[in-house]
């Protein structure tokens, strides 16, 4: 049965690649993902094989602690960052098969070891075994550590995905799940950024902390086993083995519950506000115009409340942005002012909602196509969602930086400049959206987050970077001028603000009009990219 799961996963991957044919964007994304994985596997393996004798003792300690911890925590949260959770993990697809729980678990673990990211981790594990397997006596412990590390990552990832799938049944649970995934992702991201920026000597404090965690203790076990201290080494592997057992138990328990009631994977319980069927214009939305544009805005506001996917994206974007700003500010000697003024960088992780506005709600785009709404309505709701995703991370980051540094004047200047620039950012995003469309999943079910299949996730990132570059050129100078005027020359501020607002409004107006013309010409192409079922 294990072989069947492996073949299933392999076939799913292969078919995912086959489906990229004829879609240059997906092909590029896939190629980038393959090359990136190969580079990571080769470079990482060279470094880790070098543990055999190339690195000195201090460097070896650092490398092992960081790699062992990174493998485990990265595997836990990586799939949520990249949308890489695969279909073989989804119990609802397997529930009708005559598989006992043991077969299911073994099969899912085996399937989890197939793929680009698992290939990288397994290659590293083998490289660690080669690098650290110097003593015949200690070899069994080294091998055990190299098996336990990916296993802890894999079982933890499965446990997390399955738990989140159950949690997302309710709105509150969905929010908890979104927070767990968002802040876990931020943790991994922050750690990766720290490794990149921090000087090797500064790592010692981190390494000392990591060595108290189960993966860090496994790193210590590897060193001891290398030197032949087998008993000491074996004891240090116990916490990691216990972690695997506890996570395995948790996963099995959640899996059993899902298998008993697979319907828990689907749908979100109706909330009380939906009791009035005509309530799209209810509550605060009653002030919206009763028009196509008003309806589009109302729908986005409803979705912001009800869609775990939207909230997860907003939480994750905000958390990651904040971590990024903190990391940048932590580098070198930055003044208070620069610390706060750096906060617009926080929009980096949610900006895909601005540059990929048509990729949101991809499966229901056909309704818009057959309905043929007025041009303004096409963008109104999408631009609102994009604006929220652009502004929210900056507000959180600026306030956090203000609290840390006390630079409240800079906070005000940053927020004013961001709000002024937002229309231009979302307008340019609307213009880019029909050109590079990537479907984004809208689901609280983590098993449905498979947008990375076929390199889509990677390509979405590349497009977002291009977009950031474009708005830096178009909007950056005016925004900087406004912040300069507010902080350095308040007398000029009203005049500069008027010019900046006019410039940004003009960019928004022109870009939105161009986007409207473009979507009219490309509507069916966009639809075909968003929903493959329509194209067969």
């Amino acid at each position: 049965m294990v072989g069947v799961f492996i073949r299933l996963k392999w076939r799913l991957l292969r078919n995912g690649v086959r489906r990229t044919r004829g879609n240059p964007v997906a092909v590029i994304g896939f190629i980038v993902a393959v090359i990136g994985s190969l580079v990571a596997a080769v470079v990482g393996s060279v470094v880790l094989v070098g543990l055999h004798g190339y690195w000195d003792e201090v460097a070896r300690e650092r490398i092992l602690a960081v790699v062992c911890s990174g493998v485990v925590v990265g595997w836990w949260f990586g799939p949520f960052l990249t949308g890489g959770v695969d279909e073989t993990v989804d119990p609802s697809r397997l529930v009708l098969l005559p598989l006992d729980r043991r077969q299911m678990r073994r099969g899912q673990i085996a399937a989890g070891l197939v793929g680009l990211a698992p290939l990288v981790v397994l290659t590293w594990s083998v490289a660690i075994a080669v690098g650290m397997g110097r003593s015949l006596v200690g070899l069994p412990v080294v091998v055990a550590a190299c098996v336990l590390l990916p296993l802890a990552g894999l079982v933890g990832s499965r446990a997390l995905a399955t738990s989140l799938a159950r949690l997302t049944r309710t709105r509150r649970g969905g929010d908890v799940a979104a927070l767990v995934a968002a802040f876990g992702g931020a943790l991994v991201f922050g750690a990766l950024q720290l490794i990149r920026f921090v000087e090797p000597d500064d790592l010692d404090a981190v390494v000392r902390t990591l060595r108290w965690t189960p993966p860090g203790m496994a790193a210590a076990a590897l060193e001891l086993a290398r030197d032949g201290a087998v008993l000491d080494a074996a004891w240090r592997l116990v916490p990691l083995a216990a972690t695997v057992l506890v996570l395995g138990w948790l996963w099995a328990r959640q899996l059993d519950r899902l298998l008993e009631d697979p319907a828990q994977l689907h749908g979100v319980a109706a909330d009380a506000t939906a009791a009035d069927g005509m309530a799209i214009f209810a509550g605060a939305r009653r002030f919206l115009p009763r028009s196509a544009t008003g309806a589009a805005v109302a729908k986005e506001l409803v979705y912001l409340r009800r869609s775990p996917g939207r909230r997860a994206a907003l939480f994750a974007g905000t958390a990651l942005g904040l971590v990024y700003v903190v990391i940048i500010v932590a580098q070198g000697d930055r003044s208070q002012r620069l610390a706060v003024l750096a906060s617009p960088i926080a929009m980096l992780f949610s900006v895909q909602y601005a540059s990929n506005q048509l990729g949101v709600d991809p499966s229901a785009f056909w309704l818009e196509v057959v309905t043929g709404p007025p041009a303004r309505a096409r963008w109104a709701g999408r631009q609102l969602l994009a604006a929220v995703n652009v502004v929210a991370p900056v507000v959180v980051a600026a306030l956090a930086m203000g609290l840390l540094t006390g630079g409240w004047a800079e906070v005000v200047a940053t927020l004013v400049a961001t709000v002024a620039a937002t229309p231009a950012i979302v307008g340019v995003g609307s213009l880019m959206s029909p050109v590079w469309v990537t479907p984004l999943p809208d689901s609280g079910n983590p098993f449905a987050a498979n947008q990375s299949a076929g390199g889509n996730g990677c390509m979405a990132g590349v497009v977002a970077i291009l977009f950031v570059g474009l708005i830096a050129v178009l909007v950056g100078p005016a925004s900087l001028a406004l912040r300069w005027a507010l902080l350095e020359s308040p007398a000029w501020a009203p005049a500069v603000a008027a010019v900046v607002v006019a410039v940004d409004a003009t960019i928004w107006w022109g870009a939105s009009r161009a986007a409207t013309a473009l979507i009219g010409a490309k509507e069916t192409d966009v639809l075909a990219q968003l929903d493959a079922r329509l194209n067969r």
């Binding site: 979100v268 319980a269 005509m278 309530a279 799209i280 309806a295 589009a296 409803v302 057959v370 043929g372």
Partner: protein, 261 residues
């Protein structure tokens, strides 16, 4: 004919005209140059085996899929030249396409009505009536995500009819629908036709087509192999027999599957 004889009324132009419609996926020809005339006010069945090209044809007629060749007119409007006007005149119920899962049924109709430019009070009253007739009134406040397949089908039909189009395209409208709901749908469609509307329905359930439709076309391997008034196509035989003859008989079991016996 003398000068005093009344001039007979000109026949109504077809509600849907399709000429040379073609679609190729990779190297597979899904629709191979279909020509079709759907009489105005008719209940037109588009039948064919799985993969014959029915759904693809419907998607190309409803602006969901751009054809590689040929074109279609709906209520006199060329679909791919003036899609906005064509969309005003037609409604569509594609097979198994997702809706906005996190709107309630009522909210979805309100949203789509607004997108079509209908006044809100009008949308509210039409939605309420459609939901009532289709048996969804009690579930108007339930999220679409929690609707059953049949309920989604009925909601999609309500969405297709909300703006009172001249032509509706329905892809397998009775699939997954219980008999009571199916009857309700038939009554709604009969009412729609009585007002001059045209229904184009795809199905591979011959009984349904035979009972409901007055015209049909049999599609096989992307081509029309028979079309016309249903009585003329049947020519006194059962529609199922005509259909099987047109698309080729079933593969004989022969001595295979003996392990099932």
């Amino acid at each position: 004919m003398t000068a005093t004889d009344p001039v007979p009324a000109a026949p109504a132009p077809p509600a849907v005209v399709v000429r040379g419609l073609t679609k190729v996926f990779d190297q597979k020809v899904a629709v191979a140059g279909i020509d079709l005339d759907v009489p105005s006010g008719s209940f037109f069945g588009l039948v064919g085996p799985n993969g014959a090209g029915k759904s693809t044809t419907m998607k190309m007629c409803t602006c969901l899929l751009r054809p590689d060749g040929g074109t279609a007119w709906v209520d006199g409007v060329e679909v791919w030249t003036d899609p906005a006007e064509a969309k005003r005149r037609m409604g569509a119920l594609p097979d198994d396409l997702p809706l906005f899962e996190r709107l309630s049924g009522g909210e979805l109709l309100t949203f789509l009505g607004a997108f079509r430019g209908l006044p809100t009070p009008e949308v509210a009253s039409r939605s309420a009536e459609l939901l009532e007739v289709l048996g969804l009134a009690d579930d108007a406040g339930v999220l679409v995500a929690d609707y059953s397949t049949g309920m989604r089908k009925k909601l999609s039909l309500a969405a297709a009819l909300l703006h009172a189009p001249r032509v509706v395209f329905l892809d397998e409208p009775f699939e997954s629908v219980d008999p009571v709901s199916a009857r309700a749908i038939q009554e709604v469609l009969a009412l729609f036709r009585s007002g001059g509307g045209t229904v184009v329905l795809s199905s591979h359930v011959m009984d349904t087509v035979e009972r409901l439709c007055d015209h049909l076309a049999i599609v096989h391997e992307g081509r029309i192999v028979a079309t016309g008034a249903i009585e003329a196509v049947r020519d006194g035989r059962r529609l199922e027999d005509v259909f099987i003859e047109a698309v080729g008989g079933p593969t004989s079991v022969g001595d295979q599957l003996h392990w099932l016996a």
